[in-house]
């Protein structure tokens, strides 16, 4: 039943699992942030990622800007999208029943997918010649350079996010709003502005992740659903609303996915992921770093 891979393959697996995990974590970070802030699950989160990837793809195709350099553009475009989505949709349904909240973002996801297919066809597209591409050898082990860059950037983004939330005034206001909306409001924090900002930052994170992902993963209208599911599990595993939790959970999932596939069978790699998730939720329902 168990398969014992060679040491080289095993080390390679651990490395690529770790690298992919960092990216999963960044995708999940935004989702977690919004949930922590206002207890809304954004079911269109995967589609935001898709739009981030398309932004990077079009920047490359139309203006020859490499995904590496379009990272700030993707972040900005998605920040704007998050801002607009909150102003246009989320703000109006905050007091609505839970089901209405679910369907609002779920419907938005379907709309974005269909719009992407309508505008850009369902073709698989790729950044043909990204600046960083191909593998490099580290101690004789071959790993993808784009993945390496993307995971490094993810870690940097996490560091920035952590610094922003814990050390800056705006970040602390954001955290205060997340902890107690009313109290924060009484302290003179404009909670409505915090929500909008939260949505902007959340989308910007996924936009940055999308730009890096576009340098090595194909883009198509349904790409968000592939990563979306993993993002939800990551958030639940790491703890709703916890940014460090997302990072740890993302890396755990990346590693389990590869090791489960290598040691047992690739067909069961998600079984392993969900099994670990279930065990964690049984022991700690709030997730690894969750507070509630």
């Amino acid at each position: 039943m168990f398969n014992i891979p060679s040491t080289e393959v095993l080390i390679q697996g651990i490395m690529s699992g770790f690298l992919m995990g960092c990216l999963y974590a960044l995708i999940a970070a935004g989702l977690s942030l919004i949930f922590g802030l206002m207890e809304i699950v954004n079911f269109a989160h995967g589609e935001f990622l898709m739009l981030g990837m398309y932004t990077a793809f079009w920047m490359y195709t139309l203006f020859a800007i490499d995904p590496l350099f379009s990272v700030p553009i993707c972040g900005a475009v998605l920040f704007l999208l998050g801002w607009l989505v909150h102003k246009g949709i989320i703000r109006r349904i905050l007091g609505a029943p839970m089901l209405a909240q679910i369907f609002a973002t779920f419907g938005l996801g379907i709309f974005l997918r269909a719009a992407a297919q309508f505008l850009w066809t369902p073709d698989f597209r790729q950044v043909a010649h990204p600046l960083v591409q191909g593998p490099i050898k580290i101690f004789g082990i071959s790993v993808g350079l784009p993945q390496l860059v993307a995971s490094g950037a993810s870690l940097a983004a996490f560091a920035f996010l952590y610094w922003f939330i814990t050390k800056t005034e705006t970040g602390m206001a954001l955290e205060a709003t997340a902890q107690d909306r009313q109290a924060a409001s009484l302290m003179g924090i404009n909670t409505e502005r915090m929500f909008t900002l939260g949505w902007g930052i959340s989308s910007a994170c996924v936009g940055v992740a999308g730009a890096f992902l576009a340098s090595f993963f194909y883009v198509f209208p349904y790409v968000g659903s592939l990563f979306g599911l993993i993002a939800y599990v990551t958030v639940a595993l790491g703890g709703f609303g916890s940014i460090p939790g997302s990072l740890v959970a993302g890396i755990i999932i990346g590693l389990i996915e590869v090791l489960g596939g290598l040691l047992i069978a690739p067909a069961f790699k998600y079984v392993a992921v969900f099994l670990v998730y279930l065990i964690v939720v049984l022991i700690r329902p709030q997730g690894l770093f969750g507070k509630f």
Binding site: N3, P5, S6, V9, L10, Q12, G13, S16, G17, M20, Y24, A114, Q117, T121, P122, D123, F124, R125, Q126, A128, G134, P135, S142, V143, G144, Q147, F216, F217, Y218, F220, P221, Y222, L226, F227, I230, G254, E257, V258, L259, G260, G261, L262, A265, P266, A267, K269, Y270
Partner: protein, 427 residues
């Protein structure tokens, strides 16, 4: 009160809209002299482009049949179907989303609501399986162009017809090639490793390959199924690398084929031979995007554009297709869909009737000569199981970013490159 009126008006508008959508196809049906065929393809989801290409080539076929064309095909000479007093063919195309349950529900709707005389589709073997069950139960002919699960024609169905080869034909040609290559290059290939996506297509393909490998005397070093549409193939490629087989046999769809190529490069996995089971590897998008990177990859294919020199029909149809497809060339699935659709139209014409039983009988009597095909086959003629016995599979290899026919040796345009070039030697 005003609010209520407004709401009522909105409700009426919605009802009218739904009525229009549902009714638009129904009205036309009342007119005589029209043959309605239900077409099932994935038009959303990961294989959407394949489905859209298939619909476009069917539109080319409809243009030829309904309006006539200066092409050397029997049905191009007149407008409409001559034996049905010039009746035109109309299709009702539906989106299966690539899902078996949706395919089944849509097949039922097409037969009961749209009153189609035949069904056509549905690309993914899993969808074709369920949709054709409905057709069988209701006694409506189902013509399949592009599903390669061998089991489809082993079910003893009376209303199911498949024009194209299935995975046993396709896999056999791979093993024949391996044997012939061993002789020609004076090398020895010992083992194969199979990687397959886990729906009907990949599973049946892997099963056929495993059985044939044993029959031809190769060891199966690994057979690894995986979930299609995954975010990473690192574990899968790791397993293939561990197995270290001479020949790597993947069966997967487009998105996975792109990811597989990238992952193989990252993890430095380079088997001596890569022979793919069509699907993703022959998607035109895969060729344009990954053609250079996947240099040396071989795929089985029922169709090749480079056969055009031997078949003048290919450039003629391709030119018509390009106008609809936004300059995409006709490729494997579109060529097969064209062939199968013309076969169905020809049968309806010969039946001289829209009675399903008459069409079924005419399909059984089909005997299309090779000159009328864009495929490299010896013809279209169905056996009692509904499988075309005139099929012939070829192998193509990516050389310099394009596919070229390399096997059977008598049809080959170029010599096969062996072994696959190292990653560092590719662009």
């Amino acid at each position: 009160m005003r609010m209520q009126k407004k709401r009522f008006g909105g409700f009426l508008a919605a009802v009218a809209l739904i009525g229009m959508v549902l009714g638009s196809t129904g009205f036309a049906h009342a007119q005589a002299k029209e043959v309605v065929i239900g077409v099932l393809y994935p038009m959303t989801g990961p294989s959407a482009q394949i489905g859209i290409d298939a619909i476009n080539i069917i539109k080319v076929a409809l243009d030829i049949i309904n309006n006539g064309a200066s092409i050397d095909l029997p049905l191009a000479k007149s407008k409409g179907l001559p034996r049905l007093n010039g009746a035109k063919i109309r299709i009702v195309a539906v989106d299966t989303q690539g899902k078996a349950d949706v395919g089944q529900a849509e097949a039922e709707r097409l037969i009961t609501q749209e009153k189609v005389v035949a069904l056509f589709g549905a690309y993914q073997s899993a969808v074709t399986t369920t949709a054709s069950q409905v057709a069988e139960r209701m006694g409506i002919p189902f013509v399949n162009a592009d599903s390669s699960s061998p089991a489809l024609t082993e079910r003893g169905y009376k209303w199911f017809f498949r024009t194209s080869p299935h995975d046993i034909h396709f896999s056999q040609v791979m093993f024949d090639f391996m044997k012939d290559l061993e002789k020609r290059q004076n090398v020895q290939l010992k083992s194969v490793a199979i990687l397959n996506e886990d729906t009907t297509f990949g599973t049946d393909s892997a099963k056929a390959q495993e059985e044939l490998a044993k029959k031809y005397g190769y060891t199966v070093a690994a057979r690894v199924p995986f979930r299609s549409g995954t975010t990473s193939l690192d574990a899968e490629v790791g397993r293939m690398k561990s197995a270290n087989a001479d020949v790597f046999l993947p069966s997967l769809y487009t998105s996975d084929a792109i990811l597989l190529t990238r992952t193989m490069r990252n993890l430095d996995y380079n088997p001596k031979l890569l022979i793919a089971q069509d699907a993703g590897y022959t998607d035109p998008k895969f060729v344009t995007e990954m053609g250079k990177e996947a240099e040396g990859a071989i795929t089985r294919a029922p169709f090749a554009l480079d056969l055009a020199a031997k078949k003048p029909l290919i450039p003629a149809i391709d030119a018509m297709f390009k106008k609809l497809s936004g300059a995409r060339d006709m490729a494997d699935v579109s060529a097969r869909a064209f062939t199968a659709f013309m076969t169905l139209a020809d049968a309806i014409n010969r039946a001289g009737s829209t009675d399903p039983a008459a069409i079924q009988k005419a399909l059984r009597e089909t005997n299309t000569p090779p000159e009328q095909l864009v495929m490299p086959w010896t013809g279209v003629k169905f056996d009692e199981k509904g499988q075309n016995i005139g099929v012939r599979a070829i192998l193509q290899q990516l050389q310099g970013g394009d596919y070229h026919t390399v096997y059977p040796f008598d049809l080959a345009v170029k010599n096969a490159i062996y072994p696959t070039p190292a990653w560092s030697q590719r662009k």
